[in-house]
């Protein structure tokens, strides 16, 4: 076994910045990262073992103890809960003979919860050794465990009911579905590989940036930063070595559009990265993609190989002397915060995904302290189409401040969950009609970090100037318990995913979850509600967007669904502590007096 570790480390040139790759490969070979593996890795890389531990213990999918020959990670997102996750979990526990968080006595099966795995339109979904099992039911769960016990291969157990399009590709063979319900004019329109690059090389880098600016392309990853401006900063930043990152971390619960884009149009995304490389003067591209999408790896690698063969990557791209650009794939290991661009960079450098202080911004000092552009998958697609179809075409779509289209991930209580590419400016009502949603209590726009809106606001439009969104809509039906099924789930999510660096984020996510639990249990007080508002203002001073938005699920429901809270608040005299349980407090005494 010892040789595996040395071999893997040699393969990565003994480079400590490749620690993520090293850990992923060693865990794949040995099942988990043992004490002796940690010590060996540290010695071979010449770094302290606490530093290795620091990276390992940060990520959800790195295991320090055996997690079973088959570790089953069952998604615990809101939408999974809507679709009988509890029933599936119970069936798994009964069949496997162990509870969640444990490994079966024979060491065969481990059961673990995991945050949204990007399958919200086909929940509940589970991950087993890189294979996705969407649309689980209790019956399927029992059959699955029986199959594993009988020694069947995981891939065989997933079956051959492959999803549409490239999901059936020989290198993917996944039962995951695309569910593309509406193809828009941009991302899911026709795409001719290489057209944008050929156009790009006929222009100067300045001209390309001017074009992206003229089209006013804005980031699709959530923040909406002007892409042309970002590229210009990076182009002007001093230094010969620069990097282009494509952010495919897609950890915001309810979001799965980047998965579908990367399944159907990886060439479009990679071409966008190459165009960015040309515009910025970068030779290296890195696709940072979440571990949950590892089943796409052989396919994505083959697409990269194909592009090198067609001279769309590599040296002398599209026949242009001096235009060299290539792309490598970097996997994460389970951490929502790694979608934040500076945490993503830290992670790609082999460290824990702790966001950096700004300034300096990534465009000045990013990956390995070099100027770095980080763009969302969809942003890069937009740029390709701007180059091919032109600025005027792009500007003819959308609203005055939001040009082009937006790919939406729609999930929750509706007939047709899936992918919808719309021009910016559609109202929430338009979308609800399109997806077949009735009796809607609320819509979670932009994931937990976004806003939970009530029907009174459904006439609002999706646009940077109104409801800005990274593109996810979770539809919550009238029959749901909004505070328990949704808000509490999100509160737990943020507590779990905080990197822990900032004091308010680390502590208030825990406190907010506890108070929310009390409210749901009918033990909240009016003071608790006032507290939330005060806490939200404290949270605004955290370092990164995670902490700054972590109380949004509570704050936006408090604003839009106040009666739901009031109904659960212990009314009457606020001087009493509804959380105080007299019986529990005197239990020891009672037992001592009366005997147990």
């Amino acid at each position: 076994m010892g040789n595996t570790i040395t071999d893997v480390i040699k393969q990565y040139g003994g480079d400590e910045t490749r620690l993520m790759d090293i850990l992923i490969d060693i865990q794949a070979a040995q099942g988990y990262l043992s004490d002796s593996a940690i010590t060996q890795i540290a010695r071979a890389l010449g770094i302290p073992q606490v530093d290795v531990e620091q990276t390992v213990s940060f990520y959800h999918f790195f295991a320090r103890e055996p997690r079973g020959k088959y570790a089953i990670y069952l998604n615990d997102s809101v939408v999974a809960e809507f679709n009988d996750r509890a029933g599936v979990a119970k069936a798994l526990e009964e069949a496997a003979g162990c509870s969640f968080g444990q490994v079966s006595p024979d060491g065969l099966i481990g059961l673990f919860p995991t945050a949204c795995i990007g399958m919200s339109d086909q929940e509940p979904a589970a991950l087993i050794n890189e294979v996705v099992f969407p649309r689980m039911t209790p019956a399927k769960a029992r059959a699955l465990v029986a199959g594993l016990k009988a020694g069947q291969a995981v891939a065989d157990l997933a079956g051959t009911d492959f999803g549409e399009g490239q999901n059936a590709h020989p290198l993917i063979r996944s039962t995951v579905r695309n569910n593309i319900r509406l193809r828009g004019d941009m991302v899911f329109d026709r795409y001719e590989p290489g057209a944008a690059l050929r156009r790009a090389v006929s222009m100067s880098s300045r001209e390309i940036i001017a074009m992206v600016k003229a089209a006013s392309v804005r980031g699709r990853g959530g923040a909406g930063f002007p892409t042309g401006m970002k590229w210009e900063f990076a182009r002007k930043a001093p230094g010969d070595v620069k990097y282009i990152f494509c952010n495919a971390d897609e950890g915001e619960p309810g979001t799965f559009k980047d998965r579908v884009i990367l399944t159907e149009l990886p060439g479009l995304v990679f071409e966008g990265m190459a165009v960015a490389g040309y515009a910025v003067g970068a030779r290296h591209g890195i696709l940072y993609i979440r571990n949950e999408y590892r089943y796409l790896r052989p396919y994505l690698e083959s697409v990269l190989t194909g592009m090198r063969e067609q001279n769309l990557l590599g040296a002398y791209i599209a026949g242009k002397a001096g235009f060299n650009f290539d792309i490598k794939i970097q996997f994460g290991a389970g951490a929502y915060v790694c979608g934040e661009e500076s945490a993503l960079i830290e992670s790609a450098e082999g460290k824990r995904g702790e966001p950096r202080d700004r300034p300096p911004f990534p465009v000045e000092k990013g990956y390995l302290q070099k100027p770095t552009v980080v763009n969302n998958v969809e942003t890069l697609c937009s740029v390709v189409q701007v180059l091919v179809k032109g600025v005027d075409w792009y500007n003819s779509l959308g609203t005055p401040e939001s040009k082009g289209t937006k790919v939406l991930s729609v999930s929750g209580d509706c007939d047709k969950p899936g992918i919808y590419e719309i021009a910016w400016g559609f109202s929430v009502n338009d979308i609800l009609k399109m997806v077949g949603a009735r009796d809607v209590q609320a819509v979670q726009v932009g994931g937990p970090s976004g806003a939970c809106i009530a029907p009174a606001e459904f006439s609002r439009t999706l646009a940077y100037e109104d409801l800005a969104t990274g593109g996810s809509l979770i539809i919550i039906g009238a029959h749901r318990d909004l505070l328990k099924d949704v808000v509490l789930n999100f509160a737990r999510f943020f507590r779990e995913e905080s990197c822990g660096s900032c004091v308010p984020c680390r502590a208030l996510t825990v406190m907010a979850q506890r108070v929310m639990e009390q409210i749901v249990a009918g033990k909240g007080t009016p003071t608790d509600l006032a507290r939330f508002v005060e806490w939200a203002s404290i949270m605004k001073k955290n370092r990164c967007g995670l902490g700054q938005t972590a109380l949004n699920p509570i704050i936006t429901t408090l604003r839009n669904f106040k009666p739901l809270y009031d109904r659960r608040i212990a009314v009457g005299d606020d001087r009493f502590m509804p959380t105080f349980d007299l019986a529990a407090a005197v239990r020891d005494y009672d037992e001592a007096v009366k005997g147990p």
Binding site: I47, P48, D357, S501, A507, R514
Partner: protein
């Protein structure tokens, strides 16, 4: 040659060397900005957030911000002061801080700031976490109950080979400081002493040392925190 820049500090025009850390630049001009994770001479990491000030109206951490020409800095507003008090209270509610029995009492920055902000009772729910006291190391005692996870020890303490002795483990509310058994093996008494002094609270202790300064003579018995700047 150092170049000096003009900037405004609470409405008063001041001078500082270009690029000076805002905490220092303010101190040089007689204005105290409280800090917990910042420590002179080691790279800043804005994690406690207590040094938050307004630069041109926008909240930023003063330990990670450098002075530039014409910067307008506001270090004290009712909202900022109340935020700072909250940070201190949150830290008390988050860990297990039993000041009267702590070796660092009287010299603890967290305790001193609690006095400065007149903390009486924390307005945040106590978390009462279960944490360890780690005593396997021959020279270092690590009391996790008191650790505020400021990262000073990670950033500031290295052995002769420049390797870290401390690092984070886990994340979120499970975050913890780990001690490296190898890099800390031959740690000198001086380095442990340095780590203990650098730790703002009593989370790193040198074994067989403690309570060695009588009450009345401890650091903040003599002069309250901030007085070194404010006079």
């Amino acid at each position: 040659m150092a170049t000096f820049v003009k900037f405004t500090l609470n409405g008063v025009e001041c001078l500082a060397e270009d690029g000076t850390q805002l905490v220092e630049a303010a101190a040089e001009n007689g204005v105290f900005i409280p800090t917990l994770c910042n420590y002179p001479g080691i790279p800043p990491k804005g994690s406690c957030r207590i040094c938050t000030v307004l630069v041109n109206g926008i909240p930023v951490t003063a330990c990670t911000t450098r002075v530039v020409e014409d910067m307008k800095v506001q270090t004290s507003t009712p909202e900022l002061e109340s935020f700072r008090k909250s940070v201190v209270e949150i830290l008390f509610a988050e860990g297990n801080h039993l000041c009267p029995s702590c070796e660092k009492s009287g010299s603890c920055e967290l305790q001193a700031l609690a006095y400065r902000y007149r903390m009486t009772v924390p307005h945040f729910p106590y978390l009462f976490p279960k944490r360890d006291v780690e005593a396997w190391h021959p020279k270092i005692l690590k009391d996790h109950n008191r650790c505020i996870l400021c990262k000073r020890c990670i950033r500031g303490i290295h052995n002769k080979d420049g390797k870290a002795l401390f690092a984070f483990g886990k994340r979120g509310d499970r975050l913890v400081i780990n001690i490296d058994p190898e890099t800390s093996r031959d740690v000198s008494d001086e380095l442990v002493q340095k780590a203990m002094a650098m730790c703002p609270v009593g989370a790193i202790l040198k074994k067989e040392k403690g309570f060695d300064v009588p009450i009345g003579s401890r650091k903040y018995d003599v002069a309250p925190i901030g007085s070194e700047v404010e006079g």
